[in-house]
């Protein structure tokens, strides 16, 4: 499908689904090196996003409108570290997508803005065992894919693949940002929950595009 507002809405719904499906897994990852709430927080947040979108009187007409609803709803319902971080990511992403349909470059711009949002708030760089370790390779892969002329769908796939690899790559890292950093060396050997959820959300973006519009 084309990456228009229908795609954006579908991305949100698919996000809510994957977060619900992986709620327990994300809680468990966070329990290992954090405080065990990441899956619950995102689940609460995306449930709120969906019901907020469902409740809108006039349906959004642009991708950016949808992402802005996601941003403000996550900020006001998720809490913890992930709420402001994802909230700012979606807010920045919303700003660069004042278009009715996204091409490959726009997808890259969206992802870049998201990463910038996370970094602006969280001040983390790669290798600190945070969601940046999923977003950063995702952006790089998307840039490469767009540069070699891939379709928007392919760009999203490249981003998701890279984010998934990035999440896996957090396993051996010693955290130096976020709650896991309190564990010092003991944080090694566990996957960062925020990196894992980022990979899920980026995969959801690709799936929403691949699936075509739902009934």
């Amino acid at each position: 499908m084309t990456l228009d507002v229908t795609w954006a809405l579908q991305w949100v719904r698919r996000s809510a689904e994957v977060v619900a499906e992986h709620r327990v897994e994300l809680i468990e990852l966070d329990r290992q090196i954090g405080d065990g709430d990441h899956g619950e927080n995102l689940h609460r947040g995306f449930t709120a996003v969906v019901s907020r979108l469902d409740g809108l009187e006039t349906p959004p007409t642009e991708v950016g409108e949808v992402l802005k609803v996601v941003a403000t709803t996550l900020m006001s319902t998720v809490g913890g570290a992930a709420g402001p971080l994802y909230g700012t990511a979606y807010l920045r992403a919303a700003k660069v997508t004042g278009l009715t349909e996204l091409g490959s470059d726009a997808v890259v711009a969206l992802l870049e803005a998201g990463l910038e949002g996370v970094v602006a708030r969280g001040k983390a760089t790669t290798g600190e065992k945070t969601m940046v370790d999923a977003w950063s390779p995702a952006v790089a892969a998307a840039q490469e894919a767009a540069a070699r002329g891939d379709s928007p769908l392919e760009v999203l796939d490249a981003a998701a693949v890279a984010a998934e690899a990035g999440a896996v790559a957090t396993d051996p890292m010693v955290a130096t940002k976020g709650r896991a950093s309190y564990l010092g060396e003991r944080s090694a050997g566990h996957r960062d929950p925020g990196a894992a959820s980022s990979a899920l959300l980026l995969r959801a973006a690709h799936e929403a595009a691949a699936e075509g519009p739902r009934a």
């Binding site: 090196i33 927080n41 809490g79 913890g80 709420g83 708030r121 969280g122 130096t176 309190y182 003991r186």
Partner: protein, 331 residues
């Protein structure tokens, strides 16, 4: 998991509702968004004090709302920082015209959410200052981490800054006192058992019958290291020595000693810890001028304790002694 709750998703709301009913003489509970304000708020002409954070640390923070301490507490979900859209309204609700101090425990989530709330309040014309509490010495290389966590030392910051606000100090003055307390308070904790967050349903970590976690925070996170179970005196040394060292405490100094229960520890055991911590302080020539022993900053039903030491000066001592009337602390 066995808990006296109805629905994990409703426990914070129901609990805070009960809290408001039980302490209607001291506080008012506002809902949508949820926060707790001192009865009669805002107090005109007084700097407002707002704190908040994830639930599960009760009596922190709502238990400290009242005369001489906080003006508002903002409870988040269990172990999850509240969001700006409850922190900001709470901030506006307690502004008595002289600005508001945010007392924030140093966690990424709390810092970010309070940051946004402060911006929102500022946009409404309310001046906000923020003090970060980061007293946990268990987080050693704070340059390479999110920084030290805020744990039981938060109580001391809230009490003493609250007394300064109550006597009429301006926002800069209250913030300065709060910073001074934050700079002079250190803590370290131990867990004998984990705790179970209602929505998770499984304990936050798994310990065998002869292991303990040293250097834990207050969110059921594992600590810095797992060590074999030991007598209380030895454990207390492992907590108190790093605290004293980090503070650089020397002979002749006066301190407040807080032995804090994590929620599931019998009071009798806390006094066994207090006894040893006091011996260790006195062995350094430090005078324990003020003491507090009990469940003040908890991790649900976790078994364990933390030792907090605050270096006192004449002013902070008298502010500590100043009257306080809250659900969990009063004199």
């Amino acid at each position: 998991m066995k808990k006296l709750i109805n629905d994990p998703a409703r426990v914070v709301d129901e609990s805070v509702e009960g809290f408001g009913l039980a302490h209607a003489d001291l506080v008012t509970v506002r809902t949508d968004p949820l926060y707790v304000v001192r009865a009669g708020a805002p107090i005109q002409g007084k700097v407002g004090l707002v704190s908040g954070g994830g639930s599960g640390h009760e009596p922190l923070h709502a238990g400290y709302v009242g005369l001489g301490m906080l003006d508002a507490a903002v409870p988040g979900a269990m172990f999850t920082s509240p969001t700006p859209d409850s922190i900001a309204p709470a901030t506006l609700a307690v502004d008595g015209g002289r600005g508001v101090l945010h007392i924030v425990k140093n966690y990424t989530g709390d810092v970010l959410n309070f940051e946004t709330a402060a911006e929102l309040a500022d946009a409404e014309g309310v001046e906000v200052r923020t003090v970060l509490v980061n007293d946990d010495v268990a987080v050693e290389d704070s340059l390479y981490t999110a920084g030290r966590r805020g744990v039981a030392g938060t109580l001391a910051v809230e009490k003493i800054a609250g007394a300064a606000a109550e006597r009429g100090d301006d926002l800069a003055g209250v913030a300065a006192v709060a910073e001074r307390v934050a700079a002079n308070v250190r803590s370290m904790g131990v867990a004998l058992s984990a705790c179970t967050v209602p929505h998770a349903g499984t304990p936050s970590f798994d310990l065998t019958e002869d292991e303990i976690e040293i250097g834990i925070g207050i969110h059921g996170e594992p600590g810095r290291r797992r060590v074999p179970m030991a007598p209380a005196d030895e454990i207390t040394e492992q907590l108190t020595t790093p605290v004293m060292d980090d503070l650089g405490l020397g002979g002749g100094e006066q301190v407040l000693l807080l032995v804090n229960g994590m929620g599931g520890t019998p009071a009798s055991e806390l006094y066994v810890v207090y006894r040893r911590a006091r011996q260790l302080l006195e062995a350094r020539g430090v005078t324990v001028a003020r003491s507090l022993v009990g469940n003040y900053v908890t991790s649900l039903e976790m078994q364990g304790a933390s030792v907090t030491v605050l270096r006192l000066d004449a002013e902070t001592t008298s502010l500590w002694d100043a009257p306080v009337r809250t659900a969990a602390l009063r004199w």
